[in-house]
């Protein structure tokens, strides 16, 4: 049994939330951890460390409501290159994003010029309303990066969308190429990360390419 206020449980929770944010988040939904209720750790010989978590999540666009979750995060022993295994079960319903998703999709599809933006939020924490879905989509995609790159010695957060460029496609997906700044809490580094994100109202968000930006000091 782990104290929820201590960092080992907190880091595992961040992985679980990142994973779920990627799976269920998008331009109309931003999932965030409201509370970590309970955490247990199991050391499995020759395998790794498994964390069992009870979480409370909320959608930042629907703050009155929380959803309970159970999650398992398995960090593989000694492996720096394998992502932790994550399983999450959500109890309860999240607010529907159907309307918002459709509206965002149509708005972007009807742009004459590809969308380009930078510094979201800006230095003062401002996000122009029309860019909020772009910010939330980035946040969802950053969940993938968090999940794929976390160990028991890291904790990632999205610090800022440094740059985003829409890429027009011949199929029905929207594509945004992002440069995100990820803040890694343990080393305190802010790391630029390049990723391509595909999104569609029914198919949700998919990260098609991601890498740490080369040449970063």
């Amino acid at each position: 049994e782990l104290p929820p206020s201590h960092f080992p449980a907190g880091r595992a929770a961040a992985v679980a939330v990142g994973y779920l944010r990627y799976l269920r988040g998008g331009p109309g939904r931003g999932l965030e951890l409201r509370a970590l209720r309970r955490a247990r750790r199991q050391d499995i010989d020759d395998v790794g460390h498994k964390y069992c978590l009870e979480l409370e999540l909320e959608d930042v666009l629907d703050k009155g409501r929380t959803v309970s979750c159970t999650a398992e995060v398995l960090y593989h022993l000694g492996s720096k290159s394998t992502a932790p295994d994550v399983q999450v079960t959500v109890q309860g319903e999240l607010r529907s994003t159907e309307e918002a998703d459709k509206e965002f999709y149509n708005r972007i599809r009807s742009l004459e010029k590809e969308l380009v933006a930078e510094n979201i939020p800006d230095s003062h924490g401002n996000v122009p309303p029309e860019l909020e879905p772009i910010h939330l989509l980035a946040w969802a995609a950053s969940g993938y990066v968090t999940w794929q790159n976390s160990t028991e010695n890291t904790k990632f957060h999205l610090a800022q969308v440094k740059h985003v460029k829409q890429v027009k496609r011949s199929d029905e997906d929207l594509q945004f190429d992002y440069v995100l700044l990820l803040h890694e809490m343990v080393s305190q580094e802010v790391i630029p990360w390049e990723l391509s994100v595909l999104w569609h109202p029914q198919r949700g968000a998919r990260v098609s390419r991601e890498r740490r930006q080369p040449g970063h000091a």
Partner: protein, 417 residues
């Protein structure tokens, strides 16, 4: 002698003018030596056409006689006094000059009054604007003083606001913000808190009794070089801006540079790292200045420092994972403070030692202060928990400051008592 007097001055009757300005008017201070001289001045006083304006009337007392003399009469009055051997000195050379200066002072003061209360605490400001506001607070409140405790690497002054209602080296509380420059909500909150304390002294019972017994020293921008850098070049800059010998990288993590487990786990020895501890403990002038100030003062009872983000309220240790001797009291006080914070907007802060709550980190400020006898050492990590992180929207500054203040106040009240 009386006749002579009347003769001399009657010539001046026609010269009296009714002026609206006081250009060339002089104020003389006359020291009478005996009753005869007093009587002569009283005669002078009776000559109304001279329009002498006695600020202190001639009398038998030991008081000097102060009189304002219109420009046209100045030379004649002086000639008379000299001829009678009556001693005088010039208090005011030209009254209009003095009035002009006073008018200017008042206008500036009124301007300052408007500015001080019109400072937007709900917005992020530049270093210059912050320093300006510190000046305004110091000039507006008699018990607030701006002092300089040192200079940054790039020679910017390190300004501390001293809140003191008297006494001599009273037991004191230390509060700093912005040691990590990208944590903008902390410098902004410190300004709000400074204004809150200053304006509530005398009306809020708790603040009043606190400052009646203790002094408070507030350093709102502990890392001014880094702060300017976050405005001009890189919003995500954390460290100082010191040149590191033998490296192309710049800056030391000032919260790994204190002499507490220096160089141990949780700090990097690589200059390019954001948690680089520096070549040696206190190598950073920003850290050394605070250390020297606190040591020289010798009577600090609490050391409180603001960081962001994560919503945590922590006490020592960071450099080792064992509990401090005062664990029970600090844990209990921390919980009480977190509870106060939560009471306002429901914001939850986790409480615990640095090592258990966030990570093992050596060379931290509150470990140093605690190991140097300052029992009530706490580090706050303010809003939020990661949605905006360092880029907390400005509309959250005042809520963050308000809730944080409740936590700080809880700790300060405990220290006071």
């Amino acid at each position: 002698a009386n006749m002579k007097l009347i003769l001399i001055f009657s010539a001046l009757i026609g010269a009296s003018l009714c002026l609206e300005t006081f250009v060339g008017h002089q104020v003389l201070r006359i020291k009478t030596k005996n009753e005869k001289e007093v009587k002569q001045l009283q005669l002078l006083e009776s000559l109304e056409h001279l329009e002498l304006d006695f600020w202190i009337n001639p009398s038998a007392s030991a008081l000097p006689v102060d009189v304002r003399i219109p420009a046209v009469s100045v030379q004649s009055v002086k000639a008379f006094l000299e001829s009678q051997g009556i001693e005088y000195s010039i208090l005011i050379e030209d009254l209009q000059d003095v009035l002009d200066k006073e008018k200017q002072d008042m206008a500036e003061s009124a301007q300052r009054q408007r500015s001080s209360s019109s400072f937007d605490f709900g917005a992020y400001h530049t270093l210059d604007d912050i320093n300006n506001e510190l000046d305004l607070l110091a000039s507006e409140y008699s018990f607030v003083e701006k002092i300089q405790i040192g200079e940054s690497y790039e020679k910017r002054p390190l300004y501390v606001l001293k809140f003191s209602t008297g006494g001599s080296n009273r037991p004191a509380i230390w509060l700093d913000a912005g040691i990590h420059s990208r944590e903008w909500v902390t410098q902004a909150s410190a300004l709000w808190i400074a204004n809150k304390i200053a304006s509530d002294y005398g009306t809020d019972a708790s603040i009043t009794s606190l400052l009646d017994k203790m002094d408070l020293f507030l350093l709102p921008v502990a890392n001014p070089d880094g702060f300017v850098y976050t405005h001009t070049w890189n919003r995500m800059w954390r460290k100082t801006r010191s040149k590191i010998p033998g490296s192309i990288c710049v800056g030391v993590d000032p919260n790994r540079n204190w002499d507490a487990g220096f160089g141990g786990p949780g700090a990097s020895n690589k200059p390019c790292s954001d948690s680089y501890h520096g070549p040696s403990a206190n190598s950073e002038v920003e850290v050394k200045s605070v250390v020297d100030f606190i040591k020289n003062h010798g009577n600090f009872k609490a050391f409180l420092t603001l960081h962001s983000y994560s919503q945590l309220l922590m006490y020592p240790y960071g450099y080792k994972c064992t509990r401090p001797d005062d664990y029970a009291e600090l844990e209990s006080l921390g919980r009480a403070a977190a509870s106060s914070i939560q009471s306002l907007y429901g914001t939850t802060f986790q409480v615990g030692t640095i090592c258990k709550t966030i990570y093992q980190a050596s060379g931290g400020s509150i470990d140093w202060s605690y190991d140097n006898g300052i029992k009530y050492s706490f580090a706050f990590e303010l809003r939020d928990t990661g949605r905006y992180g360092f880029l907390l929207p400005a509309n959250q500054i005042i809520p963050a400051a308000k809730e944080t203040w409740l936590g700080l106040k809880k700790i300060m009240e405990h220290v006071r008592d």
